[in-house]
Every structure is written in structure tokens, then in C-alpha cells.
């Protein structure tokens, strides 16, 4: 997995949520509200809402695709070379076909030169297609976050990151 954030990374703040049983659907909304409420004081409001939307989409995927219910979600603000980033990370076990499908989608979305164009393309393809990747494309186009993924056995990790400006910091 190639992270947009590379080199020396210092964590400024982080929130980790772990589930050992499949979380109910409403958890995506709970996590979105947690992220939104926690980060609106630190970030510009619209920036916090973009990140909260991305968190919602990632947790909905966790709930939908986790094959054994065990999963985790992490929000982190980090410093890399004097620049601040928000990083969202989801981990879950996944069925091989879901893992391969998600990997292909994420590579397709992240490698597209124009995030909006690939979002529009997936919107056009979405009717009648399960697992359309709209949520992931939306993270890149609307939340303006880079996305990456990796798999180790059945464990699937998705990371979304964007550069941010914290209130009161350079």
C-alpha cells in the first residue's frame, strides 16, 4: 500500500474503535457524528464534514462486508514533514471475492487522473450494480481524500487521507 503520507509521521490525535461482533447499521451514523463533533473544533467545518462523510462510507462498508464481524476503524491526525494530515483506516476480514472486487475498485478510483470524472463514471454504471464503489469514489471526489488498500490473507485495510489545516497551527 502506498500512503500519500510518507516519511517521519507523528500522531497528534487518534480515535480507535474496535468491534468484536458485527456492528449494527446505525454505527456508521454514530461514527460520522463522532468524527464531525470531534474535529469541527480543530478543522474548518466543511473540511470536518467531508472527513465525517468519508468515515460514514468506510464504516458502512465495514458493516456490510466484514465476513466475521470483527473490524476496527481509526481516525488519526498526524504530522509529516511539518504538514498535517487526517488519516482514516478501516480493517476487517473479507470474503476473497469481496476483497478482490474492492481492491480493483480502489485501484481504479485512485489511479484515475480526475477524481470527479471517475465518480461520474461510477454513478453512470451504478444502476443495477451491487457494490458499485460509489462510496469510495465519493470519498476521493467529494471528500478530496486519497485512498489506498492492502490485504494480508483475509484481512483487508483501507486508508483514506487528506492534508488539513488545524485551527491555530501553521
Amino acid at each position: 500500500m502506498t500512503h500519500p503520507v510518507a516519511g517521519e509521521v507523528q500522531t497528534i490525535a487518534s480515535t480507535v474503535i474496535r468491534w468484536n461482533v458485527r456492528p449494527p447499521k446505525r454505527f456508521a451514523s454514530s461514527v460520522r457524528e463522532l468524527v464531525s463533533d470531534s474535529y469541527q473544533g480543530l478543522l474548518d467545518t466543511d473540511e470536518a464534514l467531508r472527513i465525517a462523510m468519508a468515515a460514514h462510507e468506510m464504516v458502512e462498508n465495514l458493516v456490510k462486508y466484514s465476513s466475521d464481524g470483527k473490524s476496527s476503524f481509526e481516525v488519526e491526525i498526524c504530522d509529516s514533514d511539518g504538514r498535517r494530515y487526517v488519516r482514516l483506516r478501516s480493517r476487517n476480514s473479507a470474503a476473497p471475492e469481496d476483497l478482490q472486487g474492492a481492491t480493483r475498485l480502489i485501484e481504479r478510483i485512485q489511479s484515475a487522473a480526475d477524481p470527479v470524472a471517475i465518480y461520474d463514471q461510477l454513478i453512470a454504471e451504478s444502476p443495477g450494480r451491487a457494490g458499485s464503489g460509489l462510496g469510495l469514489a465519493r470519498i476521493r471526489a467529494e471528500a478530496e481524500m486519497d485512498i489506498a488498500c492492502s490485504a494480508e490473507g483475509s484481512q483487508f485495510t483501507v486508508v483514506a487521507e487528506r492534508r488539513v489545516s488545524l485551527h491555530g497551527t501553521p
Binding site: K25, R26, A28, S29, R32, D46, L49, R50, M53, H56, E57, E60, V63, K64, V116, Y119, D120, I123, A124, S126, P127, S132, L134, G135, R138, A141, E142
Partner: protein
């Protein structure tokens, strides 16, 4: 104003349809996520049938109080817009979206929907 279809409400999300002089207005409120997507799907399906039957030419989506919409809901709207685009030109109707200028995500999400159906959907400022 005469209520049409049935208003639906669940888990902090509601859809209230109202017939007015400018056509049918659909007031969306709250947060539309995976708990409520099936409600939205069912409502849009019924709305489409009602509008085609009644011959209305405009549907207004009032999103002033819509605070969140997940990607599954975006897909619900795409499916609805696809049905409208498939109608013969004389039966086709327009969808005008009234957004809340303080909720910037609405412009991003509904503009994406507008790009998928420029002949049908207009995002009002």
C-alpha cells in the same frame, strides 16, 4: 395544498410530499443512510408512478433540512433519474433541487447527480 403519496419518517429521516401551484414538492429532512435507503427507494418509485400518472412536469426536491445522504441514497436518486430519462420526451418531467447554501456537501452531491442527468435535474442555488 393537498398531500399526495404518504409522508414517511424513520430514525431521524423524513420525506414529506406536498402538491403546490408549481408542481410537487418533496421535503427531505434529517439524515438518509443505510437504515433509511429502502424508504427512499420505495418513495421515489411511488413518486415516479404518481407523477407519470398525473402528468406533472416538475418535481421540486427541498433539501433545506437534509443534513446527510450516503452513497446508497445517491444511487437511489440515480436510479430514479434514469427512469425519468427513459420516459418519452413528452412524458418526461423536470427535477429541481433546492439546496441549503450552508451545507456545501449538497452542492457537491447534487451537482454530481445533475451531471448524470443534465436534461432532467437542475440544482438551484
Amino acid at each position: 395544498m393537498i398531500p399526495i403519496l404518504s409522508a414517511v419518517e424513520r430514525e431521524g429521516f423524513s420525506i414529506v410530499p406536498v402538491r403546490g401551484p408549481d408542481g410537487i414538492t418533496i421535503k427531505l429532512s434529517g439524515s438518509c443512510d443505510s437504515q433509511t435507503t429502502s424508504l427512499l427507494d420505495g418513495f421515489l418509485s411511488g413518486l415516479h408512478a404518481e407523477v407519470v400518472r398525473g402528468g406533472s412536469k416538475t418535481v421540486i426536491l427541498d433539501c433545506e433540512n437534509l443534513y446527510f445522504m450516503n452513497s446508497a441514497s445517491v444511487k437511489s436518486f440515480v436510479i430514479w433519474l434514469t427512469k425519468i430519462k427513459a420516459l418519452p420526451p413528452l412524458e418526461r418531467y423536470q427535477v429541481n433541487v433546492r439546496t441549503n447554501r450552508f451545507l456545501a456537501w449538497q452542492q457537491r452531491s447534487f451537482n454530481a447527480l445533475g451531471r448524470s442527468a443534465p436534461e432532467v435535474l437542475t440544482v438551484l442555488p
